[in-house]
Symmetry: C2
Subunit: 626 residues, 2 copies
């Protein structure tokens, strides 16, 4: 071996840039290095739910404001109904944790109990849900930022995309150090916001400082408050409940005793979220807060409670940070879901392959692109996404609860009847809520979800059907016949007589029983065949040269035709060996023909022909660059 390689230490520039962003490959043993406790479960799995206070109450106010300032007081009763639903969901999901200690997302529970078809609906809902969570969380996070610093408002979309990019890169690196790093901002957010609420309830700023925030609302007269309006407000407000299921999906992440810790986290989440929602509803009612452009309802409530003080800015920034982390939670979810779907042959298998950082990087990329499209489509406006949001989430809730009813009915542990009843109640209520959402939100954007979910279900079905067919064709699960050797003919496309041709023919002679060199010549150079043949005969490499004349200007078609004519004689294995000149530097690639790529494409549909390439490397040490 004269041309040595540097024993694997040479790394391409692209790989180096990628390593800088994503980090070095991880060993499999470096995975699952971290297990979490009950408190750490909040930042790791509950941020989506906790941070929904940043958009849930506002979503209610936006709907109510349409009916005039007088309707705003309905925020309190609507919120109380939602809190009731929260209690039901928390209890239901504590039972899911009991039933599926190895992690029971809506997809897993539906698949186990309701069959693969229903599970597809759950999976489709979850895909929509994860994507929307990312988009809504980022939009709301940037809204919190631009409310605090209005000068940033014109940059809303770029800021959203920048935040998305940071989260994507962090996730491509792997979630390793996540939960512990998330603890501090989560604590700041929870404690800070609860403190602001308490101050607002007990001792708000002097009334003289209050700026009544209902600029958008004041223009409307009070109109009749219809049932539909209340239902719409409820549907929008239910966006505050998204993410309640995440803990049940993530049970395996907890330290032993897992189930107890996870259930404790779920309870903690319910208490904190309920308290925040209640407090914010009381304050919104007291301060007559309405939706305002450029200032979120939450920001108004905070400013009215503690003024635009350091506390306001600190909590605002923590809200932005924690919403970013909430988006991050979905990045933990969708790729895992996609890998489960891939393992069940419902999604392309490539989603089941881990990247070198041990994360399901394809899923991360897909989620990032989908979220970016959504954010750009709505211009980073949270409220434009809310009508899409709850439909998918509540479809998942309903399916998971229904699946649990079947689960208890099958497993019949002690007291299963009571447990089944609770999950059944949850399923019924969330099913009703889902129907309410679809009807009240259809024209406002809900149709997107109503269209997307069936399309995804169809996609999963088609993928599954294809894998079934392909598996049968590939004889998966059966023992194939024994492989048998055949005589081999190697065809080598060449351009002229050179060391490249020599090396390729040497390879070809090593691989086949018979070797033919072929060369395409164009009719507009009538002397070419004789010239080439003379050169060939002078060299006399011991291999026959077939000169393919063509009337058309294509190097490839004559070779393909020649190969087809060879194929007429059966019993022979045909190998096309394409010599490829490989320069040392990538930028010189363009200077050599890419015949191998063209031939590969042309022969891709040609079964029975093996396409091989042999590299002839050029080391231009004498070149002009170092």
């Amino acid at each position: 071996m004269t041309r040595g390689h540097r024993n694997g230490t040479r790394v391409s520039t692209a790989a180096r840039v990628s390593q800088l962003l994503i980090g070095r490959p991880l060993r499999t043993s470096q995975a699952t290095s971290e297990e979490i406790g009950s408190i750490e479960g909040l930042p790791a799995l509950s941020l989506d739910a906790l941070t929904s206070v940043a958009y849930g109450p506002e979503a209610i106010l936006v709907v109510l404001a349409a009916a005039g300032a007088g309707a705003l007081h309905l925020v309190l009763p609507v919120t109380l109904v939602i809190i009731g639903l929260l209690v039901l969901l928390v209890l239901s999901y504590r039972q899911v944790i009991d039933g599926y200690p190895r992690g029971g997302g809506a997809y897993a529970v539906s698949r186990a109990n309701l069959g693969p078809k229903v599970a597809r609906v759950a999976a489709a809902s979850l895909v929509v849900d994860y994507t929307l969570t990312v988009a809504v969380s980022i939009a709301a996070g940037i809204a919190a930022l631009t409310s605090a610093f209005p000068v940033l408002t014109p940059e809303t979309v770029p800021l959203c995309l920048a935040m998305l990019a940071v989260i994507t890169v962090l996730n491509l690196r792997g979630l390793g150090e996540a939960a512990r790093a998330f603890l501090l901002p989560t604590a700041l957010f929870v404690v800070g916001l609860l403190a602001v609420i308490v101050v607002g309830l007990v001792h708000p700023l002097d009334a003289h400082h209050l700026q009544p925030g209902a600029s958008l609302v004041a223009r409307h007269a009070l109109t009749a408050v219809s049932v539909l309006l209340v239902l719409k407000a409820f549907a929008s407000g239910c966006s505050a409940l998204t993410g309640v299921e995440a803990i049940a999906n993530g049970v395996p992440l907890f330290r032993e005793p897992r189930v107890q810790r996870a259930k404790r986290t779920e309870l903690l989440l319910g208490i904190i979220l309920g308290a925040m929602l209640l407090g914010l509803a009381l304050l919104a009612d007291r301060f007559h807060v309405g939706p305002r452009a450029g200032d979120t309802a939450l920001s108004q409530i905070m400013a009215l409670s503690v003024g635009r003080s350091w506390a306001y800015y600190a909590v605002s920034l923590s809200i932005t940070a924690v919403l970013g982390l909430a988006a991050n939670t979905s990045f933990g979810g969708l790729p895992v879901l996609a890998s489960l779907l891939a393992r069940d042959h419902e999604a392309p298998h490539l989603f089941a392959q881990r990247g070198e950082r041990l994360v399901y990087s394809r899923g991360v990329w897909v989620l990032a692109v989908l979220a970016a499209v959504l954010l750009v489509a709505v211009g980073g406006n949270t409220n434009a996404l809310i009508p899409l949001f709850a439909i998918g989430v509540f479809t998942g809730f309903t399916l998971a609860q229904t699946g649990m009813v079947v689960h208890w009915h099958r497993a019949r542990p002690a007291g299963w009847y009571r447990r089944a009843a609770l999950n059944g109640l949850g399923a019924t209520v969330t099913a009703i809520a889902t129907v309410v959402f679809v009807f009240s939100k259809f024209t406002a954007g809900g149709w997107v979800v109503v269209v997307a979910v069936p399309l995804l279900v169809l996609l999963f079905h088609r993928v599954h059907t294809y894998y079934d067919t392909a598996g049968a064709a590939m004889g998966l699960g059966t023992v194939p016949a024994k492989p048998r050797a055949r005589a081999t003919l190697v065809v080598v496309p060449i351009i002229g007589v050179s060391r490249v041709t020599e090396a390729a023919l040497a390879d070809a002679l090593s691989m086949g029983d018979e070797v033919i060199a072929v060369s395409t010549v164009f009719a507009d150079d009538p002397d070419a065949p004789e010239r080439l043949q003379a050169e060939w005969d002078a060299w006399d490499p011991g291999v026959r040269l077939a000169i393919l004349r063509t009337e058309y200007h294509s190097l490839v078609h004559p070779i393909v035709r020649f190969l087809r004519s060879l194929e007429q004689q059966p019993g022979r294995r045909i190998v096309v060996l394409v010599p490829v000149v490989v320069p040392r530097h990538w930028r010189h690639r363009l200077l050599h023909n890419q015949l191998d790529l063209v031939l590969r494409t042309a022969l891709a549909r040609q079964p029975g022909i093996v396409v091989a390439r042999t590299a002839f490397r050029i080391d231009e040490e004498a070149g002009t660059d170092g």
Copy 2:
């Protein structure tokens, strides 16, 4: 052979769309079907020069207007100097036609007489020149259109790009029917514009109808007219002389007697262009025309001569059409130049390959992209491109004339001294003009050319150096050793036991003396090796299986490492045969792993290893779609 192919009749969708736009492949014998006469030489080769009346006079006025309305009368003397230069150039280029009857572009003449280094400068100037001609012609063509129909003005850039797209597609189809189709619009343009000029000179519209057009100018007081100003006006006006060299480049296109016909066309061009420039300068002077936003000087002159009558609109539309055809002329030029450069190893060889329509399609694409970038960069504004324009053109003029002096000096035909003197005068005058352009236009955009030309020269040099090195490494021009066969080891990466594996092993056994199957298993599935080995032993295909355990999540790296360890034993040819599952429909591609692509990339820099792929085709006739 059971799996038949449809004997070459199946065409992919992409190929079908491409054929619709570009046309079916042409036979080589279908090329060079057309030869042209003296009159047809005008539309075929002189449109660039003729149509420069659409922007040349205006370019003078723009410069003069900066010094106030009083300076506008200088348009006449400046134009007279330019016409003098035109006479000199026409005479000089008639001599080029004599000297290079096989087509003597600045590149060919410089290379033959001044050596490859100077020729690189000429080639670089020409590349800049062709690109600018396309951009300027299209911008001026759309300006003529928007002057006639001001409602279109806001769509200037999209209109420019649409015109460029049409020209690009026509050129990808091949220039076949060009010259004859161009005759009618060219005649309409020449006759129409000359008629308008005559009417304007003899019997313009009544003075009451005249709208003095100098709105931009009126605001300036007359300032001192400096020498620099006159030089700048001259430099800008010389953009009217671009394209004078095109006939000399295209001599081979003429019918015999070629030289006589080409010289006659050159003369005809000089007379018509000179007459138009003179007439327009006289009218601009008489009507006190100045530059106006949204109405070109030419449009103003025409409107003042014949009113906004049918004649005005007819000539305006013919100007737009003919400017489009002028851009088309460059599309005939740059790709041919690029192919010459490629043959001289100064540009990537792929520019020397004709596409299936027998045109140098890569050159067409490059020109289209460069022109699009320029048009977007200046927002379709002709006058922003003028300062860049003449520098490259006149550099080419100077080099071609200098080369001719050397040519005459070497060949010494009868009267060579007189001929050399004429070309020498041309070289001197155009060299002075080039220096004037660079200095007077540097800050206005000329620097772009001053930077681009040396960069292109450097690029040609680097490409040439690389091809020299590569040619030496490939032993071009020497007779290589005879190829010798060696023992071959075929390595087959597999995933499991299936018909795909069977087919691949059968191929491998046909190709090599020894075969090893390899499979990568990850450390996080500790049972995988035993499971796989048991399956393998049960099948017993007569081939050894190497199971590669890896701590990292990469299928490829373990295989690459394994291959490197095999390479340590010299004397063996190593072939990696990758089984690839190929579905019937492209959209199913994503559903199978692309291990071959990844391996190919990873092994691209690994000389001595042949990478082969064998396709296992899946015919899912039982699938859900037809």
